[in-house]
């Protein structure tokens, strides 16, 4: 009898009609555009010129990294081949070097009618050729997609020094490193200020790990936290430039918020667990952070006053270092899969977890580009820790630094 009853109950449970709901999105992003880049014509190789500058190579690299183009480098202008390959636009130019000065002109043409879409003329010192080429790449992206490119953005990261770790700023493609700190102490977790003029980071330079702010163009450094405890992983609010950070002032690590000059410190989380690595949403209203309040580190979201905390990730046993996409729709984080960290993204509603990296080695500290199309991260897949760029869907993973020792990348705004 009991058996029958159990069977009846189980039948009832199974037969309860389930409402099935399918939401499907078929759009697959912007289609890539075919573009040809013709080697720049070198004219008037004057005395004292090295002939080393090759802006077209920089432009080719920029366009490839941007994830918007199929790039076809060409030695000479060949419209027949371009028509065969159905290439829509092409870039050509001239370069003229003399006495440490480089003059180069770049032109973007329509490949069918050969009409000029845009053209730029740069007169720069030899060491600024890369920057000028980045500027033209951004102009090309703007003219063809109506959106500013990210070729002139920078990365701040830590680099292994002789004794400690130093904070340095790189071009987004890994060139032109500039050291922000050059002390023999450990400097960690750098982050940009919203105006891209300053860098926040943790440093042991006064023996205790405190937060510092260094203006990258003047070198002026300010200490922000007076306490002697561990203060780390700062992040700035893109709207009002307040700083959220993690600190162990009250015993265990909690999230705090303060003004950009270090005043008005307020505590946001009051758990007995470890809270760390905060990151603001693009509108500045919310903070995503890591917490192990349920036993394992997971990603949470709260309002910027510390209220309305909700858990975001439920897959995986170790999810950390979240980074909010500039468009606000996704959060990238590192997740432990089979003993190594991989980069994943998740929708902010909590669905659609997408694992972006699968190669061996730890892939850590994702950071979105300002247009939300690319993700920068550090990876040990080639041995030492280097920086990589990939498209936000995980394709086109490109290594941008060599030599190892690069960690904690953080992409600047435009």
């Amino acid at each position: 009898m009991l058996l029958l009853l159990l069977i009846a109950i189980s039948v009832i449970q199974v037969s309860s009609p389930a409402e099935e709901l399918f939401l499907e999105s078929t759009s697959s992003g912007i289609p890539k555009m075919d573009i040809a880049v013709v080697d720049f014509v070198r004219k008037n190789l004057g005395p004292g010129s090295t002939g080393a500058a090759k802006p077209h190579e920089v432009i080719v690299n920029d366009l490839k990294l941007s994830g918007r183009f199929n790039v076809f480098p060409m030695n000479t202008l060949d419209t027949v081949t371009m028509h065969k390959k159905n290439i829509a636009v092409f870039i050509e130019g001239t370069i003229d070097q003399s006495k440490g000065n480089t003059i180069f002109e770049c032109f973007l043409h329509d490949a069918y009618s050969l009409n000029l879409i845009t053209g730029k003329r740069f007169n720069v010192k030899d060491n600024a050729v890369r920057k000028a080429a980045h500027l033209f790449s951004d102009e090309v992206v703007y003219q063809l997609f109506g959106e500013k490119g990210i070729a002139t953005t920078k990365i701040v990261c830590t680099m292994r020094g002789p004794k400690g770790k130093d904070v340095c700023v790189l071009d987004y493609d890994g060139y032109n490193p500039v050291y922000i700190t050059r002390n023999n102490y450990i400097n960690l977790t750098p982050a940009w200020s919203p105006d891209n003029q300053a860098v926040y980071y943790t440093s042991y330079r006064d023996k205790t790990p405190a937060l510092y702010k260094t203006f990258i163009y003047t070198g002026q450094t300010v200490r922000l936290t007076p306490n002697a405890m561990l203060n780390f992983s700062p992040t700035s609010n893109p709207i009002d430039s307040r700083i959220a950070f993690a600190s162990t002032v009250h015993g265990n690590s909690e999230i705090y918020i303060m003004e950009g000059d270090g005043t008005d410190i307020a505590r946001l989380t009051f758990q007995g667990s470890i809270e760390s690595s905060p990151c603001f949403s693009p509108n500045g209203y919310e903070i995503t952070f890591t917490s192990d309040r349920t036993g394992s580190p997971q990603i949470y979201i709260m309002d910027s006053e510390g209220t309305n905390v909700r858990r975001l990730t439920f897959e995986g046993k170790y999810n950390a270092s979240p980074s909010w996409s500039p468009k606000g729709d996704k959060i990238a984080y590192q997740s432990m899969v089979e003993g190594v960290f991989n980069i994943c993204t998740i929708d902010i509603e909590g669905g659609a977890v997408q694992q972006l990296t699968t190669k061996s080695g730890n892939n850590e500290h994702p950071s979105f580009s300002a247009d939300g199309r690319l993700i920068m991260f550090s990876s040990t897949r080639a041995g030492a820790s280097d920086l990589y760029i990939m498209n936000a869907d995980g394709s086109n993973q490109t290594r941008i630094t060599t030599g190892g020792g690069y960690e904690f990348p953080e992409w600047s705004g435009r």
Binding site: A8, I12, S15, L21, M33, Y112, Q143, L144
Partner: protein, 232 residues
């Protein structure tokens, strides 16, 4: 086997247990019969959630929205000379046949003669209505720009099939002015699909599109864009 037998014995002896057993059997019968009845019922398909018919505020029937509308439009376009020249160009672009465009550009006179033939063909098969963009300036030379606008707009054009209802196709035509920096102004519906939701989706697809700045000397373009939702 001894356990159920002993159980039955005890049930027979005790009147209370007997009553309980009868009640249980009856209950089970009722529960199972309800369950079976529920399972037998043909399930409602989820589609129901997406049938937006009831929101449709316009009283007109949908027969105006379907392909037949396209026919008079095709005939109209034969009258002005400018439009007939430019029309095949856009079609070629939307099908990505770049080479054809060039030939057409070289021999514009022949196109005029070819034009009626094409429309006749379309009349034979009215259901092949497709998204189509028309730029008012007939000699706008930048071919890539057509494709960029199409990409920018159709990235946002993904209306649900359920909006079709019983129709095979719904078409909405919007008209807007494009400023030099790619900004859309004066956006309006020039030919409604008589489905308010589809109309709104069309407007939103244009509004949300991030269109690149206009290349060359042209400071402003007027664009007519026909967006079609057809059954897969």
């Amino acid at each position: 086997m001894s356990m159920p037998a002993a159980l039955l014995e005890s049930v027979k002896r005790d009147p209370f247990k007997k009553a309980v057993t009868v009640s249980l059997v009856l209950h089970l019968f009722v529960i199972i019969s309800f369950t079976l009845h529920d399972m037998m019922k043909p399930r409602q398909v989820v589609k129901k959630a997406y049938l937006f018919d009831m929101v449709n505020t316009r009283p007109q029937p949908r027969r105006f929205a379907a392909p037949p509308v396209a026919k008079p439009r095709e005939v109209k376009k034969q009258e002005p000379a400018k439009k007939t020249v430019e029309k095949p160009k856009e079609k070629a672009i939307s099908t990505k046949k770049a080479k054809k465009e060039e030939k057409q550009k070289e021999e514009p006179k022949e196109q005029l003669q070819d034009e009626p033939k094409e429309t006749v063909q379309e009349k034979d098969a009215p259901q092949t209505l497709q998204n189509e963009m028309t730029i008012s300036q007939p000699d706008f030379p930048f071919k890539y720009y057509y494709q960029q606008i199409i990409n920018a707009v159709e990235r946002n054009w993904n209306p649900p099939q359920e909006l079709l209802g019983s129709e095979m196709q719904l078409a909405v035509e919007v008209k807007f002015r494009l400023l030099k920096n790619g900004q859309v102004t004066d956006l309006e519906i020039s030919e409604s699909s008589w489905n308010t939701i589809l109309d709104k989706l069309a407007l939103r697809a244009i509004e949300k599109a991030r269109i690149p700045p206009i290349p060359g000397d042209e400071s402003e373009l007027t664009i007519t864009y026909r967006l079609v939702l057809s059954r897969n």
